[in-house]
Symmetry: D2
């Protein structure tokens, strides 16, 4: 699945084999998020994690920061 760009947001849903794996991925992702100091809105239900990226400091538009984090998350 790819990142979807809509309403000035980048969104992607990651699907894992189970809840534990989804949470472990969120932990790994959190280190990248902290390093970039760019915090997403993200939602978990069981084995799914939906990530929504936008830059509040840039009037809620998609910026380079969002694209960098998107790439980092895909590389985990």
């Amino acid at each position: 699945m790819e990142w979807i760009e809509a309403n000035n947001k980048l969104a992607k849903t990651y699907i894992f084999k189970d809840f534990a794996t989804a949470i472990a991925w969120m932990v790994a992702a959190s280190f990248e998020i902290e390093k970039l100091n760019h915090h997403p809105e993200w939602k978990n239900v069981y084995n799914k994690v939906e990530v929504i990226l936008t830059t509040h400091d840039a009037a809620n538009t998609i910026t380079e920061k969002d694209r960098v984090l998107a790439k980092k998350l895909d590389a985990i």
Copy 2:
């Protein structure tokens, strides 16, 4: 802040001192969630975690399972 009951859902937003603490709380909460095998919809943005509880197997109504998990989460 308390649990709010609306639209057949129990909802609560937990607020932490920072992102790292919010994620660590989600990890602790995940063990309770797995033990009860009752997975919430939950959303994180920076230091906030919004938890939404409902029971899919009971036609998306609030059941005892939701109330038990709510208490467990409050006790972490």
Copy 3:
């Protein structure tokens, strides 16, 4: 790397690409550990996690519990 059996213990060192990945793996592993209610001695230094398994309830010998957890950890 394989599990090494010595002194009534099963031991293995997992090596990851970095610290964040090691910690995320420990989180995933923790769910299996809790499910089996069989807690290892494990040690982390940067990208390495050394796991040592033995069964205290069986006079600190290697039992089926240790072998089951070992398999679960390898499957993460």
Copy 4:
């Protein structure tokens, strides 16, 4: 319990109410560790986490880096 200084190392054992809480604390601690880029040797067994700090780049002596991380861990 306090930090114990011996053999050019700072050591402390944190005790938690259960395994899940210990692991959640390790996750919170990991963010501080990454931020300081100063990785301890730490060991978990059930509800205990033993942390051992030393600075490899300073011929395995205790340095200011170890003391800073020790304080950060105590403040979690």
